[in-house]
């Protein structure tokens, strides 16, 4: 018995993929750019609706499990969506809708529009698939889907040297990372004989496994070593994907080189997948395993410290930037560092803070990149000093950039204040008081960088007449995100609860396992 919401969940990612690969076929028939704009916006609207409905269903009814093609785990691939992945999925879906609508103005009649949307929809499919999947190998596939789309999108302006260089660097680092993740999968399969997340979690805690499975662990010592190595390797990979300190170098090159809507998707959403995977691996899958408890602790602690280092280094780099998009890209490194530190705490407060901050950062950063993109396109330059007086020509984009910057600094009543407060509370309650100083100092350095932006946009006089104006749909996309960043703050007393439960669901290992077991038993129509 499969009901409509499960169908919807199961359909979302394959439908996005199919829609993406339909575009190259469509190019054989028509080259009309307008068609692709409407087509991609429709698909993105469907994805936004479906992800939000999925989140609503998961909030009301608990973790949702879907067997692909009716194949049961551990043989088949399952989607297991708890509140954490559903919330991130909903954020991804809605922000991607804004990004897609905005792309219509940004790209116009550019010749490569069809290929752009192929990769953009592929990126969305990959991100949603990575967030929803309950299978570590499927995660690998979806990471590849999302990363390969991202490499292509970074190289979209293929006639500029900068984009090609950035895409090359990015793809070299990214491909190495995904390959190493494959290596980690070998260790996982060798140790546990399964690739299903719930199954692994069950085996590491009880060494029993799902009702269906024939693997019996022979040598506990070797399994612990294998799991430990797998965890270390995958942590490295996910740190690359989420750009935490020693593995973040590709980001400040790659994100600014991409077209601005893509930068918004990469900086606001792409890095979330890495953070999500870190949380999932450290807490849900390997969290309760006595054999590698010490490894998890050591890795968590190093992640905590590196997150702090990341924030300080990135905020220092921010103050000297003269390229608006590069400045914002460094800010992404800073915020992912803070979120990674919060995830590393492993406390309910830490996960609540991380979830809240991921959400406010995703909306704020997407807004900042979209606004910056509008300013860059309108003023015709990425240099901060050439953007002077931009508020006269692009008022909505300037207001958006201002509000996003204020939210990222943490000024109340924008969303960023409340998520930063949650971060403070999490670090203080976990006894990591030094992180309070780290957040404050890095925010102050970021303030300097954002004030450069605000200064040039609002307070300087325009030098030249701007050739272009922002159209209504693009403005609407930015206004929607502005409303989002205000709502995330002003409605704090109402929405707070959702972030608490979403964060807690990562730490609820038993709930994650039992949801899979329950789905399996009900699938076979009876108790097992």
């Amino acid at each position: 018995m499969i009901v409509w919401y499960e169908q919807l969940l199961g359909a979302t990612v394959p439908a996005l993929m199919a829609a993406a690969f339909l575009i190259p076929i469509m190019t054989l028939a028509t080259k009309c750019a307008k068609l692709y704009h409407y087509y991609a916006s429709t698909i993105a609207a469907f994805a936004a609706l479906s992800t939000v409905l999925t989140y609503k269903y998961v909030v009301d009814n608990g973790t949702l499990v879907y067997f692909f093609g009716g194949w049961f785990p551990p043989v088949g691939i399952i989607y297991e969506v708890d509140q954490f992945s559903a919330l991130l999925g909903a954020v991804t879906g809605t922000v991607m809708l804004a990004v897609t609508v905005y792309s219509r103005w940004y790209l116009g009649d550019h010749e490569g529009v069809a290929w752009y949307y192929t990769m953009l929809l592929g990126l969305e499919a990959g991100m949603l698939g990575s967030l929803y999947t309950g299978d570590v190998f499927n995660l690998f596939v979806m990471l590849e889907v999302m990363s390969v789309s991202a490499y292509g999108l970074v190289a979209y302006h293929r006639r500029t040297k900068e984009a090609v260089e950035a895409a090359l660097k990015y793809s070299l680092i990214g491909a190495t990372a995904t390959t190493i993740y494959f290596l980690a999968l070998l260790f996982i399969y060798g140790s546990f004989g399964t690739l299903n997340m719930a199954d692994i979690a069950l085996r590491v805690s009880t060494s029993a496994g799902l009702p269906i499975g024939r693997f019996v662990p022979q040598n506990p010592g070797l399994i612990s070593l294998g799991a430990s190595i797998a965890l270390a390797l995958s942590l490295w990979v996910f740190m690359v994907k989420s750009a935490v300190f020693p593995t973040h170098f590709w980001l400040p090159d790659a994100h600014p080189a991409a077209p601005s809507p893509v930068s918004a998707a990469l900086s606001g959403l792409f890095v979330n997948v890495g953070l999500y995977a870190i949380a999932r691996f450290i807490h849900t899958i390997f969290g309760g395993y006595s054999g590698i408890d010490t490894t998890v602790q050591a890795l968590s602690y190093s992640l905590l410290i590196l997150g702090g280092v990341s924030a300080i280094i990135a905020s220092t780099a921010m103050i000297t930037q003269y390229d608006i998009k590069r400045l914002i890209a460094y800010s992404t490194v800073m915020h992912t560092g803070l979120i990674a530190s919060a995830i590393a705490l492993g406390t309910p407060e830490g996960m609540y803070a991380a979830t809240y901050h991921i959400t406010t950062h995703a909306v704020g950063k997407a807004l900042l990149f979209l606004s910056a993109g509008a300013l860059v396109k309108v003023m015709g330059s990425r240099y901060l000093s050439d953007l002077s007086g931009a508020q006269k020509y692009a008022p909505v984009a300037s207001a958006g950039a201002l509000m996003a910057a204020m939210s990222l600094i943490g000024l109340p009543p924008f969303g960023g204040f409340f998520s930063k407060l949650a971060l403070y509370k999490a670090f203080v309650d976990a006894g990591q008081v030094w992180m309070v100083a780290v957040i404050l100092v890095s925010s102050a350095l970021a303030l300097m960088a954002y004030m450069k932006l605000v200064h040039t946009m609002f307070f300087r006089l325009p030098k030249t007449e701007a050739p272009e104006r922002v159209t209504a749909p693009a403005n609407a996309a930015m206004i929607a995100l502005i409303i989002g960043i205000i709502v995330l703050g002003v409605l704090y007393p109402l929405i707070n609860q959702y972030f608490i439960t979403s964060g807690a669901s990562v730490l609820d290992r038993l709930g994650y396992i039992s949801a899979a077991v329950r789905a399996l038993t009900s699938y076979f129509g009876g108790g097992a």
Binding site: P412, W434, L440, F459
Partner: protein, 326 residues
């Protein structure tokens, strides 16, 4: 929150200890500063309005507020700047509700950090006024102010948090409760270090002498307001005075322990608060009158060493006391 509480809240924000009280206290602070600076230079200082010229700053500000607005034809919208400065004033007014002198006290865990973020509105007003003026002096003033703010804001935040945490516990860290908490000997290192840091923060934020770097090279007034006049300048003066008074009051109540050894219920305690407040302002202004201005990088470095590092040391002392000793 019923409507009686709402009215009381509005009264507290608008009158006591909010806008009216704090702005009067601010003009009094400015009077002390001007008097001390004048005496140090063998001048009289304000004498004309009120006894000993006590009402002179009020007269100055009222004159400015009722003056004609001077609008420079191609500058940034002065209405928006006025709004930003007013927001800073009201943020300061609202923040006084954390103090025990307020008829209603709002107190929550971690309100020390909330206070710092709300106070940032006043900094924003300071910065906006210089950046928005078309004069290069105003922009230079604000950019120097910004460099100082980047060191002073975290220093203020960390020291307020550290003191609150030392007195009320790491997880609570309520500045409101810290003002009435008992102090033991083991909390004093955090209190002293945080106090030193906060004192420097107060001097830097009130643009007192070694840190009045935004004024360098403009030599007119106030650096950031080199080319600002009329009501906007009046509002800026109110904001500047209120911020100085607020920080001095915070130092008095948080670091110098307010009415100690009396209590808030005792009239003598209130007298003592007044005495301590005047002493704090006198100390800052005397220091200011006897020092010369620093260069920008010297000033930022000095603040970094003696304010930011002191605040981090205070945080360390508080953490040591909380996790190791207690």
């Amino acid at each position: 929150m019923n409507w009686v509480e709402l009215l009381l809240y509005l009264f507290a924000v608008a009158v006591f200890p909010g806008f009216v009280f704090l702005s009067l206290l601010g003009t009094f602070t400015e009077w002390i500063e001007r008097k001390v600076a004048a005496r140090a230079q063998n001048r009289m200082g304000p004498t004309y309005v009120g006894p000993m010229g006590l009402l002179q700053p009020i007269a100055d500000i009222l004159k400015l507020l009722w003056a004609k607005e001077l609008v420079i034809s191609r500058g940034f919208s002065w209405r928006v700047t006025l709004f930003l400065v007013s927001t800073g004033v009201m943020a300061l007014s609202a923040s006084t509700l954390l103090m025990p002198i307020s008829p209603i006290r709002l107190s929550t865990p971690l309100d020390s950090l909330v206070l710092v973020y709300v106070l940032f509105y006043s900094t924003l007003g300071f910065l906006a006024i210089g950046f928005s003026s078309p004069s290069p002096f105003g922009v230079v003033g604000s950019s120097r102010m910004l460099s100082i703010v980047c060191v002073v804001e975290p220093a203020a935040a960390i020291s307020i948090y550290a003191i609150s945490a030392a007195l009320t516990g790491m997880g609570t860290a309520s500045v409101s409760e810290a003002m009435t908490a008992q102090v033991g000997l083991q909390q004093s290192p955090a209190l002293v270090l945080g106090g030193v840091s906060l004192f420097l923060v107060m001097m830097a934020k009130s643009l007192l002498k070694p840190f009045d770097i935004p004024e360098a090279e403009t030599e007119v007034a106030g650096g950031v307001v080199a080319d600002v006049g009329g009501p906007l300048l009046g509002m800026f003066r109110i904001l500047h005075d209120m911020e100085a008074a607020f920080l001095a009051l915070l130092l008095t109540l948080l670091v110098l322990r307010g009415p100690y050894p009396f209590s808030y219920a005792d009239p003598l305690g209130w007298v003592l608060i007044g005495v301590k407040f005047v002493l704090v302002v006198l100390a800052a202004t005397t220091l200011s009158a006897s020092l010369g201005r620093l260069r920008i990088e010297q000033g930022v470095a000095l603040l970094g060493k003696h304010s930011l590092l002191a605040s981090i040391a205070a945080l360390g002392a508080a953490a040591l006391n909380y996790y190791v000793v207690a």
